[in-house]
Symmetry: C2
Subunit: 114 residues, 2 copies
């Protein structure tokens, strides 16, 4: 549980940056080299590599070097774990309304009986 | 678009903390006073209020003071906006596989014809 919370901390921290979100978005279309990923950004490569490092340390992406080319791939499972957190909150919210509905039904039923 | 990116930055930053996520989770069950929200945490009230402030500044929650009691409510729409970001990435990912499927179908079709 604590591990899961720490994982969510680092995933949400990683996603709180437009460059890193753009990298995730690009990798949703398929693997890409660091050069391809960096291309749309007006950013020095060392700065860009820091963003890649943050994403990789959270497990949101992984990379592999062949010769001088590093290719990055999205780790869908990690992204899904963060998305699940939202679904969990929605479920809590929905059950609350279901409870209110049941209460209303009970009250209307009692009304009818009286 | 830039505004939307800034909103996502601040929402994900706000969610990158276990106390703030716990507050959101509690408010998914319904409105609560700051006292009720702070109760499960072993934290000085000023520190806790900083977390409430971060959540409120992103628009994820809003609060209202009546007398000395401040009550907080979840802003579902803001949470939904962040959740939508994940759905968008999933859609990109899914369309990629659909494209691969179509390609495979075309290739198999060509195979059959030759």
């Amino acid at each position: 549980m604590a591990n899961n919370a720490m994982a969510l901390d680092s995933i949400f921290h990683a996603l709180a940056d437009p460059t890193r979100r753009a990298v995730i978005q690009r990798l949703s279309r398929g693997p890409a080299t660091v050069g391809e990923l960096a291309e749309p950004f007006n950013m020095a490569l060392p700065s860009f590599m820091k963003h890649v490092g943050v994403l990789e340390s959270t497990g949101l992406i992984r990379s592999r070097k062949r010769g001088r080319i590093r290719t990055c791939t999205l780790e869908r499972k990690k992204l899904a774990a963060a998305e699940r957190w939202f679904a969990d909150q929605r479920a809590i919210w929905a059950s609350r309304y279901q409870n209110l509905d049941s209460l209303l039904e009970t009250l209307t039923g009692e009304d009818r009986e009286s």
